[in-house]
């Protein structure tokens, strides 16, 4: 039992580290661009990575509260991606 818990702890730390590294790498892509499509894609990836961080935090603390948080983050991320793309495509979000 203690070995399994130790393995789970190591996996949680590795997942936290990789997702944080993913945030940093997609922030690099967000800064260097070069096209607006790349920047929207980098923002979308950052939202998805933040969602993964919240899910892993919920696993580590063993509580169910983070379910609503991650559902809200997923919905807001999709809506903001579509709104940004729509703004570039049509020059307006709601016509």
């Amino acid at each position: 039992m203690t070995t399994a818990l130790a393995v789970l702890d190591i996996a949680l730390i590795v997942a936290f580290g990789i997702l944080a590294l993913g945030q940093i790498l997609s922030m690099v892509r967000l800064v260097i661009g070069p096209t607006p499509g790349d920047r929207i894609l980098a923002l979308d990836t950052m939202v998805i990575n933040a969602l993964g961080l919240v899910v892993v935090l919920g696993i580590q603390q063993g509580v169910q509260i983070y379910f609503e948080v991650s559902l809200l983050i997923a919905m807001l991320g999709f809506v903001s991606t579509v709104a940004l793309a729509r703004f570039i495509l049509r020059g307006d979000i709601i016509e």
Binding site: M1, T3, A4, L5, V7, L8, I10, A11, L12, V14, A15, I18, L19, L21, G22, L25, S26, V28, R29, T35, P36, G37, D38, I40, L41, A42, D44, T45, I48, N49, L51, G52, V55, V56, G58, I59, G62, Q64, F67, S70, L71, A74, M75, F78, T81, V82, A85, R86, I88, L89, R90, G91, D92, E95
Partner: protein
């Protein structure tokens, strides 16, 4: 080996698979050298990566004795919305002509993606 130990190992494996896919997708986002190619990699983060993390969350809740399958709702939402946002970003790339422009359609002037509203006549009579 009780079910609890197997559940803990399964949670760890799902976590490692999910974060591995997230890392691969983000490296692809950073390393590829064409806007349409860069669009390909991060979609795996959304589906497989986060899907595996949510699966780990489900397995962990079963191990803790308070089973919840609410996470499948997030999974279904991500699986539905990932192609839509990828399609919108591809349309942005075509609209800004950052990739190869598609050939003109046979029976129409131009693609609606390439047609900005300020180029349209105000009164098309």
């Amino acid at each position: 080996m009780s079910a609890e130990i197997i559940g803990n190992y399964a949670t760890a494996i799902f976590l490692l698979i999910g974060s591995g896919f997230a890392l691969v997708g983000v490296i692809g986002l950073l390393k590829f050298n064409d806007p349409m190619t860069r669009l390909h990699a991060p979609t795996k983060v959304g589906t497989v990566g986060i899907g595996m993390l949510l699966l780990a969350s489900i397995v962990h809740s079963v191990v803790l004795g308070e089973t919840s399958i609410h996470e499948t709702l997030i999974m279904a939402f991500l699986f539905v919305t990932a192609p839509i946002s990828a399609n919108f970003i591809a349309k942005v790339n075509i609209h800004k002509r950052n990739c190869e422009t598609p050939p003109t359609p046979p029976r129409d002037d131009t693609w609606s993606t390439l047609n900005s509203p300020d180029e349209e006549p105000l009164d098309p009579t």
